[in-house]
């Protein structure tokens, strides 16, 4: 493995709406598999990415039940990345912006997600080797 680094990602896009969320999760998966420490600061709609009450659903338009539809939930993908990090003994810190959570009622996140503020993003960036801000349009 290459030298372990600490990488920070900031994201503001909600799940199930843009390709940016998918790209973020792909980046996290690669970074964790490479043994890097990861920080994520989620704000605005991105606080719903690890929302615990996400539910898989059927797709009546295509005649598929929930099992056949096998709907991918971002909370499950994030949990899987967290589990990979735990097995590897690396740090994975996901912070949801508290004000963004409150205004959306998104306070039920999966275990491992903590509440914070933009000050956390500043601290993460200062303590990281590099930071990528995935801006929206």
């Amino acid at each position: 493995m290459a030298e372990r680094k600490t990488l920070t990602f900031a994201v503001m896009d909600p799940p199930f709406e843009t390709a940016r969320s998918t790209t973020l999760l792909r980046l996290l998966d690669i970074a964790v598999r490479r043994g890097h420490n990861i920080n994520v600061f989620a704000y605005e709609g991105a606080v719903y990415l690890p929302f615990a009450l996400q539910k898989a659903h059927p797709n009546p338009a295509h005649g598929r039940n929930a099992e056949e539809e096998n709907h991918v939930l971002t909370k499950d993908l994030i949990a899987a990345v967290m589990a990979t990090a735990e097995r590897a003994g690396t740090k994975f810190d996901w912070v949801n912006c508290g004000m963004c959570v409150d205004e959306r009622g998104a306070d039920q996140a999966i275990p491992g997600v903590r509440r914070g503020s933009p000050a956390d993003l500043l601290k993460m960036a200062q303590e990281s080797d590099n930071t990528l801000v995935i801006g929206t349009r």
Binding site: K5, R20, N130, T131, L132, I134, G135, R137
Partner: protein, 108 residues
């Protein structure tokens, strides 16, 4: 000399501001820096032969390394073998390697 990694997620058919990445990367190369433009999501669309592809080829000829996310290409049915001159397919790992290597990143 610094290494700049510019990630372009927008396509010129939908976004009139993709020239930003072109202009910035060209100026950075002219300033003696190493520049990689990584196309991702709909940003890969001009990497197939089309009305906008000449701008990318010109950028490559100026010394900018241009890569297209292989996953985004597959999602859009674009074969890596069909990419225009100056652009080649690459894995998203390039971004993580760039971050770990200290590249200066901009997401657009």
């Amino acid at each position: 000399m610094s290494h700049y990694l510019l990630i372009e997620s927008r396509d010129p058919f939908d976004s009139p501001d993709t020239g930003f990445v072109h202009d910035l990367s060209r100026k950075l190369v002219e300033g003696g820096h190493e520049v990689t433009v990584f196309l991702v999501q709909n940003g890969v669309l001009p990497a197939r032969p089309c009305i906008h592809s000449a701008a990318l080829t010109s950028l490559a000829q100026a010394g900018v390394k241009i890569l297209a996310d292989d996953f985004s290409l597959r999602e859009r049915g674009i074969a890596a073998s069909s990419l225009i001159q100056g652009v080649r397919a690459a894995a998203l790992d390039v971004v993580i390697d760039g971050m770990a290597g200290g590249a200066k990143l901009i997401w657009h």
